[in-house]
Structures are given as structure tokens and as C-alpha cells.
């Protein structure tokens, strides 16, 4: 039954761009504040918004900022097409439309008191960054934090300065791996799962939060199980076509699930029978 009446969820609200910063050659982080008349809404790590560029179109983008930071929404966008390119080429001071936040986020409540293992691939680190902020902001509430991050090459790594600063935090371990390393790369080369053996945590009392390309997540979930995590302690963030974000348009259906409402974050257990189905 209706848990909340949100009649205006289909209408966008103007937000002003306060900052645009370049993360890599194709990925940018936008910081937005509500324009006068727009209402700011708190978000849960893992939730997404629908960002609208005047006259271009609308896209689902995960929130990548700090959940404790008031009055500001942060998004990290990779330019892969017309709409994403329109987003990242906006200038400071311009307005874009924001709907949301939508969806079900990461299980941070349930993860309290446990070790947290964050496994990210490529742009998949963006929806997980709020998890990292949350754990570090409330350090005593969680066990160890292990961040395993895989990317294509060193120049594709997001948040490089932050990765280094997170690595210096208490009870925190950051390991990055790239698929192809150049001569100057001192880090790991290989698939992200090859980092598991370096992670210092207790798999049996850890909660894993995974986000990346679907193939990578299939591979990672398999390896996490082998590593000793239970299916019910592994969480994934899924992506499908999305038009409305409120369960009306039907596009984001994934088997019996609506990714916009029940997801984007799901328990691996729920998705296990679906992940290996082609053209589902």
C-alpha cells in the first residue's frame, strides 16, 4: 500500500551548479545547491537522483557526496553520451533540474558493528563514496573498512587524493588495482578480486557493498563467496534504463524487481538467480 504520498516526484526542481571539478579525462564531479524555491532533501548513501539538463534530457545519477553535508548534492558523472556530456559541460552558476533522491540505498544500519568491504569498479566508486564518508564520519560504529577499487588504467582512477587520505585513516585499508598498468604505476595490476588476499578483515563478520559493471559484479560476488562472505551479506547496486524513477514507467524492471524502487541496491541473495540470465 502507499507508504508515502509524493505527488510531485515527477516534477524537476532547479538547482544551481556551485562547482565542477575534473576527476579524470572523462569524469567530472558536480556540486549543486537548491535554487530559491527548491527544497533540499537529505539522501541515503546509494540513492540516486534524476538530473535534467534544460532542453536536453534527464538521466539517473548516483549521489556521490557526503550524507552529513547539508544543503548540497554531489554527483560524479562520466561523459559517455549526449546527455552525460551536456551535464559535465555545464558551468558554475548554471541551473539544472533535480528530482529525487530515489531508491533504496546501502545497508549502513545493518552494517554497524561489522567490518565493511567496499568493492568498486570504474565509475562504480561514485555511488560507494557516501558509504566511505559515512563510515569515516562515524568511525566507532563500524569495524574495519576495506576499500578495493579496480579501474581500467591508472588514469581512470577516481578520487585519487581522497583514496590516499582514506588509506591513512584508522582501521582503514585502501587497495587499488588496474587492468593495465604503465611503467610508472606502482600499484597492483590485475582484476579487482586479486586484491582480496591482501584485505585484512574477518570475512565471516563483514558486509560487502559492490558497485561496478555487471560482469565485474558477477565475478566479484563469486569470489566474495569463495572468500567466506555469506550471500546475505553481499550487496550490489544495479543499473537499468530508467525514465520515471518512481515505478511507473516500467523500464527498469529486472525480473520481478523494479530497480528504481526496490534498488538500486539489492542483497546478492535476491539477485543470485537473475544475474546469470542473458537478456532478462
Amino acid at each position: 500500500m502507499a507508504t508515502a504520498v509524493k505527488a510531485d516526484a515527477m516534477v524537476t526542481q532547479p538547482y544551481l551548479i556551485r562547482d565542477v571539478s575534473k576527476e579524470t579525462y572523462d569524469t567530472f564531479t558536480l556540486k549543486l545547491e537548491p535554487d530559491k524555491g527548491s527544497n533540499h532533501t537529505q539522501f541515503q548513501p546509494g540513492q540516486f537522483s534524476m538530473l535534467w539538463v534544460f532542453g536536453v534530457g534527464e538521466l539517473p545519477i548516483s549521489i556521490s557526496g557526503d550524507p552529513d553535508e547539508e544543503e548540497r548534492l554531489v554527483y560524479t558523472v562520466r561523459s559517455v553520451g549526449q546527455a552525460t556530456n551536456a551535464l559535465v559541460t555545464r558551468s558554475v552558476g548554471e541551473a539544472i533540474g533535480v528530482r529525487g533522491p530515489f531508491g533504496t540505498g546501502w545497508p549502513l544500519e545493518a552494517a554497524r558493528g561489522h567490518d565493511v568491504i567496499v568493492v568498486a569498479g570504474g565509475i562504480g566508486l561514485a555511488p560507494l563514496r557516501p558509504v566511505i564518508y559515512e563510515v569515516l564520519n562515524h568511525r566507532k560504529d563500524y569495524g574495519r573498512l576495506v576499500i578495493l577499487y579496480g579501474a581500467r588504467s591508472p588514469r581512470d582512477l577516481l578520487y585519487r587524493k581522497e583514496l590516499a587520505s582514506w588509506a591513512r585513516q584508522k582501521e582503514t585499508q585502501v587497495l587499488t588495482s588496474v587492468d593495465y598498468g604503465g611503467m610508472s604505476w606502482r600499484g597492483h595490476v590485475g582484476v579487482v578480486t586479486s586484491l582480496f588476499k591482501y584485505a585484512r578483515l574477518k570475512p565471516s563478520r563483514s558486509v560487502a557493498m559492490v558497485c561496478g559493471p555487471e560482469i565485474m559484479m558477477r565475478f566479484v560476488t563469486r569470489e566474495l563467496e569463495t572468500y567466506g562472505l555469506s550471500r546475505s551479506d553481499i550487496f550490489l547496486s544495479m543499473e537499468r534504463n530508467m525514465k520515471c524513477a518512481v515505478g511507473f514507467c516500467g523500464h527498469c524492471q529486472y525480473g520481478p524487481h523494479f530497480i528504481c524502487k526496490e534498488g538500486p541496491v539489492f542483497r546478492f541473495e535476491q539477485l543470485r538467480p537473475l544475474l546469470e540470465k542473458y537478456e532478462l
Binding site: V80, G93, N241, K243, F248, Q253, P256, L280
Partner: protein
Amino acid sequence: MVAEGVLAARETSWSSAVSLEEHAVLAASELGSLISTLALEGYSVIGPAVRDGAIVYSAIESIQDLPQGWADEQAPGKYRLSPRNDDSFFGYVVGPQSWKKFLHPPEVRLWQAERQDGSFRILNNEATPEKAKAFLGVRACELAAIRIQDRVLLEDRYRDPIYEARRASAFVIAVQCTQAASTCFCSSMGTGPAVSEGADLVLTELQSGSHRFLVRAGTDRGSEVLSKLRTTAATEADLHQAQDGVQAAAATQVRSIDQNGIQELLYQNFEHPRWENLAARCLSCANCTMVCPTCFCTTVEDTSTVTGNHAERWRRWDSCFTQAFSYIHGGSIRNSSKSRYRQWITHKLAAWKDQFGSSGCVGCGRCITWCPVGIDITEEVRALRNGGDHGDS
């Protein structure tokens, strides 16, 4: 407003709901006064009319507009109107359209925006206030379809204000079927042909003896309208005649979908040779989703003026049969037509139950009739069940 306990309503069988006192008889000659009464009450009356060789739902001003004396012949990929040998107003079964087009319009503007002072403002975000509509001639399967869309668009995490406004103001006059098309299978879906709840007025057209309607009110609003009409008391004979007609409509249905284990059937046969067999016939034309009274999928289109100062967002019906439907950057998830038909039928008959607590199919048979190659959903389910990959089993 919105019917609570959407699905419970279906459990009530018509015969147990029948009581003489609740019913009245409206002479066929008085049908016009029902239309004019509704118009006086401020409704724009929508009902069946013959257009382009089909019975469609459009504005009705008098009984002259109704498809009196017409029947429809339906079969997979086939629809023909033919004259009846009586003067029934509702002597057809269902046409290509459903009430979905009024409640969940094929295209609607969600909002418009205008650039202003370096930002923009939303000009209007309200559903266009339209004149309330009275739907005349809603079949049991269609009423079930409306209740299913209520569940999707009003009773989940969010409410669709556009649907809500239209739905809340709609006055529903159901007309029970006393005959079935060859494509009908509402009996097996538990949605008809008898109308149980959810209508403001329920009519049954009776021909034996004199041409008349058995009528009962389902809501206070219905009673009020009924009280303004000239009716006579109903007799046991009227009730029996109506009941016999509805029972005949159930008994003559030749198609069915066995609901037993339907979810497991579809979920466990994700890989099945039948899907290839289907794909060889399916044109991915999306007709089935357009005529389906419960299919709710939409897409949005953003437009802007040449000056770039004005933008609009429109919502339009979409179909899971298009390739673009499942597109994410890099390509579509469901590229083959096999995967798209599988998605449609699996969603309709199985996933819908997980999502919204009922089947998404009401057994109206439109997808069978309006499929240009005559794909029959009931036959496809049977083929999956029998494990065969050939047409008839």
C-alpha cells in the same frame, strides 16, 4: 475514489451478491435518459461507438451514438463487426481500446519549464483539470484492469497525480457480458464476466421479453444517479435472465490460462525452445501492449523550442517490445524479439504477482485479436506447459 481491497472484490461471486431489492429495471427506451442525466450531473459521457469498422470508446451524446445492433467477431488476428439479429446496444464484447486511454493517457504533458534569471522555473506541474468523465459500458475484465492500474499507479510507493485526478472523478457504468468472443478468457483469470464491485452502476442488457436493462447501484454516487431515472422493480425472472446471460458468457469461453503454478512455469522456463518458435512469428509491433488494458509502461520525451527558452516534458505510452526500451549506455539489454516477448508475458502473468499481488492479465483477449500474426497468449502458455515447441498442442 480508489477501491480498497482491489483483489478481494473479485472473490465475491456474482450469484451470491444478487438480491432482488438491490436491483431495478430500466427500459431500453430510458437508456437515453441515463446519458442525459450524467451530462446534467456534469460528466462528459464516454461510451462505445462504431468508427472505422471497430467499436471504440468516444464521446456519447445520445443513444444514437451507441453501436446498436452490432456484434463483433473476434479470433486470433481477426476482428469484424457484423449486424446482430436484435437491437442490443451492448451486443459486442470488447473493441481495440480500453478505458486506459482516458485514465492513463497515451500522451500527457508532465510539466513545462521556462528559462528565467539564469535559472528556470516550472510553469505548471498539475494534471490538466479535465471535465469528469462517465464511462458507459465498462466490461468486468475492464473494471478488473482499472483496479490493476489503480494498484500500480496509486497504491505503491508513489502516486501518479495525473491518473489519480482522472480516476477519482470517473463515473463507472459497467455492463455485464452476456456473450463471449472466441478470444475471451476472463473466466480463467477470475475477472469476469460478472461484475462484482468497483462500478457506480452495473447494467445487464436483457432481450428476452422486452428490451430492458437490469440495473443496480454499486456506490452512493450510483444510487443518486439511479434515483433520477425512471425504473421499475426487478423480478426474479429478470434476475434469472441476467444470471443466465452472464453464465452463458462464461460457459461459452473457449480459451483459458491455467493459473496453477503459472509463476514457476514462466520463471523456470526462461530457457525454452518455445521462445525461438515465438520469435519467428512475433513482429515486435507492440500492438499487444498498446491494446492491453493493464500495460502501463511509458517513456518521457523532453522537447524545447528553437529559442531554447521553453522546455516541456511529455509522457507517452511505451512498449517493452521496442529495442530502445531496455537501452543503457552501450546497448540494449533485450536485443532479441524472443527476449522481449518473454519479458512481456513473464511480467504480465508471473512477475506482476510478485510486484502487485495479482496477475497483470484480465483475460480480455485483445492481445490475441489485435496481434497481426495471431499470437495467442493462452496457446503460448499451454505450449510452455506441455513442453512442446510447436504451434498447437
